[in-house]
Symmetry: C2
Subunit: 230 residues, 2 copies
DNA sequence: CACTTATGGATTGTCGACATTACACAACAG
DNA sequence: CTGTTGTGTAATGTCGACAATCCATAAGTG
């Protein structure tokens, strides 16, 4: 023991839960949030010294945070030149959605094989229709993601879940970058219940086709508005 | 200009291409190789100071190298406790193979849709039968990987390729850890030509079934010999 | 003896400084 | 004027030292 008394407080009541979150994680979270929200656009250069001064931390956590984002596929390095937010090509957007389709089809298949309960999915369906009626766009998007997230989780496959989450990061970014067309999405809300019904009926072919079409429609939302270069 | 002359040599003829490979990458490569070869078994602790002294570099490159391996899914961190080679559970092995199956099925479908040329696959098939006749186990394994690698590449999908490569890292590790049963593999070599034939015939259902069964057989090779804990 | 409470050692987390590299721009020869 | 050659600057790459944290073990108390 050197500096702090540290006695008492067997459990910090509730407030100030813990700050044991490493700086690099905090920095990574902030940067990721900035990228996913579109505030840091693809192609933007990430200068370590600038970020370090801006956030009042050393360069080491910044470097490690950027590397975390690199692992997420959101940042790319050009050795000795610098790091930048990974440009989003139309091809990459298309690939992201096609891979997502494969993941969700896999999830549907596994759900049918394992006979997972479908209550969660029904709840999210209800939440989505409620949000649609209330004209709450944010809630609608959130409910949609919750539905798909639940779908993947019910597949009971950790690797699939991790891969899907990683992929969905890019989808977040894409959605933030395109100009949202709200009207289309509300009608897509109606796609979910039939999927759940097909699952309940144990109709693999129908369920796969429905989820496949559904994700493909979502992909089609993206006009190739995203044409980043540099 | 400070120390090095650096004139002449508009192009270093061929020898000594460059050593501009960052230390962290060198360290990461060494560690990855050690893990994939089984020399660093799952559960082994990775102590930064020890590795730093052992490799005569500072801790910074070691830390960043370990983080790279973490991104590869080969290492996991327990904050303030240490990093260790990620334990391989039977479940994770199964999940790895099942995800691989989905990837390869996706590749097959895309190859049929795009009408990719199949010459490469045929070459690797020949190499495999040749290796089988020569009783060269190493070459057999290499040819097998080359075949599947080519299959994925022909799908012309960068994200799929990256995901597959990442997944295959774990497969390398798994193969290094299990006691190899050579005899079974030689007979599996025979699975490849029919796959290529089905692709040539444009028979999607048959090709998908064949590649699916094939990868599933490879998975079955693993008795759950791998029971790492800690 | 059981249980709490210090304390020491080992390991990761963070920092600031220095070394190395690449690029851009100016100086200069032809 | 054009091409080349030197420099300077800004960024990343690397290093060693210090701070914070956790774990195990021992000391103390009822």
């Amino acid at each position: 023991m050197t500096t702090k008394p540290m006695l008492a407080d067997p459990m910090p009541p509730d407030i100030a839960p813990i700050e044991n979150v490493p700086l690099r994680v905090q920095v990574a979270d902030r940067l990721r949030s900035a990228i996913l929200s579109g505030r840091l656009r693809p192609g933007t250069g990430l200068v370590e010294t600038a970020l370090a001064e801006q956030m009042n931390v050393s360069r080491a956590p910044i470097r490690e945070a950027i590397q975390i984002l690199e692992n997420d596929g959101l940042v790319e390095t050009i050795a000795y030149k610098g790091k930048r937010v990974k440009p989003l090509t139309a091809r990459e957007v298309a690939e992201t959605y096609s891979l997502r389709e494969v993941f969700e089809v896999m999830a549907v298949r596994r759900i049918l094989e394992n006979g997972a309960p479908l209550d969660l999915l029904r709840e999210h369906c209800d939440a989505m229709t409620a949000a649609a009626e209330a004209d709450d766009f944010e809630a609608l998007v959130a409910a949609d993601e919750a539905f798909h997230h639940a779908l993947i989780m019910l597949a009971d496959h950790d690797l699939l879940l991790a891969s899907w989450k990683n992929l969905y990061l890019r989808i977040h970014q894409i959605m933030a970058l395109r100009n949202r067309d709200e009207h289309n999405l509300t009608e897509v809300a109606g796609n979910h219940p039939p999927i759940v019904q097909a699952l309940a009926d144990g109709d693999a072919d129908r369920a796969v086709k429905l989820i496949s079409d559904h994700t493909r429609i979502l992909a089609a939302f993206d006009p190739a508005t995203i044409a980043q270069d540099l």
